[in-house]
Amino acid sequence: MSTTAWLTTLQFAGVNALFALAIYASLWTGVLSLAPIFFGAVSAFTFGYLAGVTGLSPVLCLIIGVALGAGLGAVTAGLLVRLESHYLAMATIAMVLIGRVVILNLPEYTGGATGTLVPGDLGTWAWLIGTLVVAGYVMSRLAGSRFGLAADAVREDPAVAQTLAISPRRIQFVGFMLSGALGGAAGVFQASFLQYIGPDTFYTHLGFVSLAAVVLGGAFYWLGPIVGAVVFTILPELLREPMGEYDRVVTGVLLVLIIIYMPRGLVDVRRLRLLKARWWRSRASSPSDDGPEPTDVAGPARAEAAS
C-alpha cells in the first residue's frame, strides 16, 4: 500500500474512532444507540451549509457542530430514553434512516442526491489527533468521576443503580449529550476529510462499522472504541494485498474469534484485573515468597497510584 493510501486509511480510522467513542458514550450508560451517525450527518451538513453559503470559519463550524450534536443528543434523549432497550436501539437506527430521507429532500441546504462540497481546512492530522486527544482526555477524566461510576452502575444493573439513588434516565440523558457532542465532532471531521458529503456518507454502513469497532475494541473502557476503530479500519487494508478478494472472509473470521474468545473486546480492564489478581495470588502462595500477604498491602496502593 502506498504512503498516501496509508495516511488516508489512518485518517478514516481516526474519524471512525470519534464515531465509535460517540457510540461508546451512550453504551456506557446502558443504551445501544446509532444516533451519533445522525448527529454527525446533521453537524456535517450544517458545516457544509454554513461554510459554503455564509463563509463561516471551519473552526467555528466545528464548535457549532459539537454544540449542535450535544443539543440534538439532549432532544433525542428527552424523546427516546423512556423506551426499552431494543426499541430504543431500533429508534436510533430509524433516525439514521430518516436522516438520509431528510438530506435527500432538502436539496437547497444539503445538495439533495448530488450532495455538497465542504472545505477541507480541518482535514489535517493536527486537528484530528488534537480532537481525539481531547475526547480521550474527557472520557478518561469521566471514567472515575461521579458520573462515570454512576454510568457503570446503570449499565451493569439499572435496578440496583436506582437503589443507590441514581436516576438512570438522568445518567442516560447525559450520556446522550456526550454522545451527541462526539458525534457532531466526528461528522465535521468526516466531511473535512472527504470534502464531499452526500446522502450515503452518514448511513447505516458507517453506523455498523463504528458499532463493530466499539464491540470488538472493548465496550467497557474508553480506550476500547479507539483501539477497535484503528484496528478494524487498518486490518482490511492490511489483508487486501496478501489475501486479495478473501480479505473480508479473514476479517469476518477474526471478528467471530474475538467475539468468542474476548467477548468484552480487545481492551478489557476486567480481564486485566483478573489476571493481576491471579498473578498476586500465585505470588502469595509460592513458597519462595517470604512476605505473608503482599496482595493486601501492595494491591490497593498500586490501584490508587494508577487512578
Partner: protein, 286 residues
C-alpha cells in the same frame, strides 16, 4: 386489618415509625404473593421478616424499595409516602438495600463498587471532572477514604483493588452492605444477609447489625438463620403464603404452633392455616 396477636403491641404509641407498611397487597396473576400485610417498624429497631420460601418476604422488600408497585396498601418511610415513588426517589428518602442473590456490578473493584454507592453524597459535576478541579479531586480522595472505612467496618478482608465479583461469598455480601451504607441510609433492608456464611461469619454480621442500629439506623432483614434472629432481632414478622402469620418478639413468634408448622414444614396443612387466618381476621374485626 391484620390479625391481632397477644404480643401485638410491639410498637409503643408515640414512637417514631421508620417504616410503616399498612395493608400491603400484591397479586401476580391469580397468586396473592403478598396479602394484606402490615409491618410497622419503629426507628432504631432491628426487625426480622421470617417465613418459608415463597412466603412473599422478598416481594415485600421489593415493594418497599420500589421495584414492584403494590396493588393496594401504603408504605411510609419516616412519614413520607413512598408507595408510588420511583426506586431512586425512595433511595433518596434514605432506604438502602442488599439482595438475596448478590447483585454486584461486574468489572468494578471493591472500592469502586462502594464509591458508586456514594452517588448522592457527592456534589462534583462533569465540568469539574473534566477541568481537573481541586474540589473534584478532593472529593474523589474523600470518597475513597470513606469507602475504605466502610469496607473496614463491614469487615471485608480482601484488598479493595480486587474485582468485587471475585471475592468469597461472604465478602461479596459484605461489599453489598458497604455499598448500601455508602448511600447513607436511614433504613437498611437486608435480604438474607448471612446466606452462605458460616456461624462465625453470621455472628459477625449480627454484631454489625447492632453497631449500625446504635448509629441510628433502622434495619429490616429477611433471615433464615434462627439463632441469629433470636439473638439480634428485637421483633419479627412471620409470613406464610403471602400473609402475616405472627408478629412480635422472635422467641414468642417461633414458639407459635402455626408458625412452627408453616416455617419448618412439619405437616403442610394449608387448609388449617387458612382457617386460622380467617379466624384471626374475624377476631380482629370484633
Amino acid at each position: 386489618m391484620t390479625q391481632l396477636l397477644p404480643d401485638r403491641d410491639t410498637v409503643e404509641p408515640g414512637t417514631e415509625l421508620a417504616v410503616d407498611i399498612v395493608g400491603l397487597t400484591k397479586a401476580f396473576g391469580g397468586l396473592r404473593a403478598v396479602d394484606d400485610v402490615t409491618i410497622r417498624v419503629p426507628r432504631g429497631r432491628i426487625h426480622g421478616i421470617l417465613g418459608p420460601n415463597g412466603a412473599g418476604k422478598t416481594t415485600v422488600l421489593n415493594m418497599v424499595s420500589g421495584f414492584i408497585q403494590a396493588d393496594a396498601g401504603r408504605i411510609e418511610v419516616f412519614g413520607a409516602d413512598v408507595t408510588r415513588m420511583q426506586p431512586f426517589r425512595i433511595a433518596r428518602q434514605g432506604v438502602g438495600r442488599t439482595y438475596q442473590n448478590i447483585r454486584l456490578f461486574p468489572g468494578l473493584t471493591v472500592l469502586e463498587t462502594v464509591v458508586a454507592g456514594a452517588y448522592m453524597q457527592r456534589s462534583s459535576t462533569i465540568a469539574g471532572a473534566i477541568l481537573f478541579s481541586p474540589g473534584e479531586r478532593r472529593e474523589r480522595r474523600e470518597m475513597r477514604e470513606r469507602a475504605t472505612e466502610l469496607l473496614d467496618k463491614v469487615g471485608v478482608r480482601a484488598g479493595s483493588s480486587a474485582l468485587a465479583e471475585t471475592l468469597s461469598y461472604g465478602d461479596q455480601r459484605r461489599v453489598e452492605i458497604a455499598r448500601a451504607l455508602a448511600t447513607n441510609p436511614r433504613v437498611l433492608l437486608l435480604d438474607e444477609p448471612t446466606a452462605g456464611m458460616n456461624d462465625a461469619e453470621s455472628e459477625e454480621v449480627g454484631r454489625l447489625l447492632l453497631d449500625l442500629r446504635d448509629l441510628g439506623l433502622t434495619l429490616i432483614l429477611i433471615e433464615h438463620n434462627m439463632r441469629l434472629v433470636e439473638e439480634f432481632c428485637e421483633s419479627v414478622s412471620v409470613m406464610n403464603s403471602g400473609a402475616l402469620l405472627a408478629e412480635g418478639a422472635p422467641t414468642w413468634c417461633l414458639e407459635q404452633d402455626d408458625v412452627k408448622e408453616a416455617y419448618f414444614g412439619k405437616r403442610s396443612d394449608a387448609a388449617r392455616i387458612a382457617t386460622l387466618r380467617r379466624a384471626r381476621r374475624g377476631e380482629s374485626g370484633t
